[in-house]
C-alpha cells in the first residue's frame, strides 16, 4: 500500500511542473536557426522563401482555441502576422501563449484561399480570418479572407515561448 501511494505521489510531483508555467518552453523541435526572417519580409517576397526553412520572431496574437494546432505570430512593429501550423497533437500551443513573445521555425509555404491543404476547413477559415484581419473574426472579415488570392503559413516544426 505504501509503495502504491509513493508511486502516486511521485507521479503527481512529476506531472505538476508540466501543468504549471509555460515560460521559455520549447515546443516540438524548438528553434535551431540563429537568425530570424522578418514576417513582413516573408510576406513581401513570398516566392523567395517558399519551401525554405525559416525562423520568425514575434508576439503570439491568436491560438487555435480547440486543438492548439496553430498560432498566429505577429511582428508588433510591422502589424503583419503569419500562421504557424503544426501537426494536430504533435505540438499543442496553449491558449496562455496569447500575448507572449515567441520564436517559431518551419517551412514557409503557400496554402489555397480555402485553406484546405490540411483537410481542416474550420481551422483554416479561422486562421485565414486572423491573418487577413489580424484576429478580428467577424463575418465580413472572414468573407474578405476567403477572397484573398493566396495565404501563406509556416509548417511549424518547433517553437519557443518566452
Amino acid at each position: 500500500m505504501r509503495r502504491v501511494l509513493s508511486l502516486l505521489v511521485v507521479t503527481i510531483i512529476m506531472v505538476l511542473p508540466a501543468l504549471a508555467g509555460e515560460a521559455n518552453k520549447k515546443y516540438g523541435a524548438g528553434v535551431t536557426l540563429d537568425s530570424a526572417v522578418g514576417i513582413s519580409e516573408l510576406l513581401a517576397a513570398p516566392d523567395k522563401f517558399i519551401g525554405k526553412r525559416v525562423r520568425v520572431d514575434g508576439v503570439v496574437t491568436a491560438v487555435c482555441a480547440k486543438r492548439g494546432c496553430w498560432m498566429m505570430l505577429t511582428d508588433p512593429d510591422r502589424e503583419q502576422g503569419i500562421r504557424i501550423k503544426v501537426e494536430d497533437g504533435v505540438i499543442v500551443f496553449p491558449l496562455e501563449a496569447m500575448g507572449r513573445k515567441a520564436s517559431a521555425e518551419g517551412v514557409f509555404e503557400v496554402v489555397n484561399p480555402a485553406g484546405e491543404k490540411h483537410g481542416d476547413a474550420e481551422h483554416a477559415k479561422q486562421a485565414e480570418g486572423e491573418q487577413a484581419s489580424g484576429g478580428y473574426s467577424c463575418a465580413e472579415q472572414e468573407k474578405a479572407a476567403k477572397k484573398a488570392s493566396a495565404t501563406y503559413q509556416i509548417a511549424g516544426t518547433g517553437a519557443i515561448l518566452y
Binding site: 502504491v4 506531472v15 508540466a18 502589424e79 500575448g99 507572449r100 484581419s133 484576429g135 478580428y136
Partner: protein, 182 residues
C-alpha cells in the same frame, strides 16, 4: 489451472494499478469526443463593449487607455496592432480586440476548466516527455487487461460459452461503422 491463476493475478493487479487512470481517461474521452460542440479544456466567454474614440499613440499606450476605460486594473501583458485599425491587448486570462479609432471591442475571457483541463492534458499528451512512455505502458496494460479478461471465467459463461458471442458483437460495432462510413 496454474495458467488461469496467473491470468487472474495479472488481470487483478494491472486492473488495480490502472483503475484511476482509466476513469480519468474515460472522462476526458467523452469530453474531447464532443470537441466540435464545445471547448473541453477552456471556458471562453466573449462580450462586446464600446469605450469611445481612442487617441493616437503607441500600442502600449492605447492598450493601457482601453483597459483603464473598461475598469481593468491589471497592467496589460502586451498590446499589438495586428492590422490596420485593429489592436489586441493581452492579459493573463483575457484578450481585448479593439477596433481603432472607434473603440468598439471584443473582450474574450478564458479560464481553464477545473479538472477537465488536467485530465485532457494527460489524455491528449500535451506535455509529451516521459508521459508519452507512461501512456505507452498504460496502452499495453489495457491490452493485457482485455486479453486476460477473456480467460478469467471458464465454462458456459466463459469465452467458450457466451463470451465468444459478446466478443464478436463488440468487434461488429467498429467493423460496421467502418463499412457504413465509406
Amino acid at each position: 489451472m496454474r495458467l488461469r491463476r496467473l491470468v487472474v493475478a495479472v488481470h487483478r493487479d494491472v486492473g488495480y494499478f490502472f483503475a484511476g487512470l482509466t476513469v480519468l481517461y474515460a472522462v476526458s474521452g467523452v469530453a474531447v469526443n464532443h470537441m466540435a460542440d464545445w471547448n473541453p479544456s477552456y471556458r471562453l466567454q466573449k462580450t462586446r463593449h464600446e469605450v469611445g474614440l481612442v487617441a493616437d499613440g503607441t500600442a502600449a499606450e492605447q492598450g493601457r487607455e482601453v483597459a483603464r476605460r473598461l475598469g481593468i486594473e491589471a497592467e496589460p501583458m502586451s498590446a499589438v496592432r495586428v492590422g490596420p485599425g485593429l489592436l489586441k491587448v493581452f492579459f493573463e486570462d483575457r484578450t481585448l480586440t479593439v477596433s481603432l479609432p472607434g473603440g468598439e471591442l471584443e473582450d474574450e475571457r478564458r479560464a481553464r476548466r477545473y479538472f477537465l483541463y488536467e485530465v485532457n492534458f494527460l489524455h491528449l499528451n500535451k506535455g509529451k516527455g516521459w508521459w508519452t512512455w507512461f501512456a505507452d505502458v498504460y496502452a499495453i496494460g489495457l491490452a493485457a487487461l482485455a486479453l486476460t479478461g477473456l480467460f478469467i471465467i471458464p465454462g458456459r459463461k466463459g469465452l467458450s460459452g457466451r463470451g465468444k458471442w459478446l466478443v464478436a458483437a463488440g468487434l461488429l460495432a467498429p467493423l460496421l461503422y467502418l463499412v457504413l462510413s465509406r
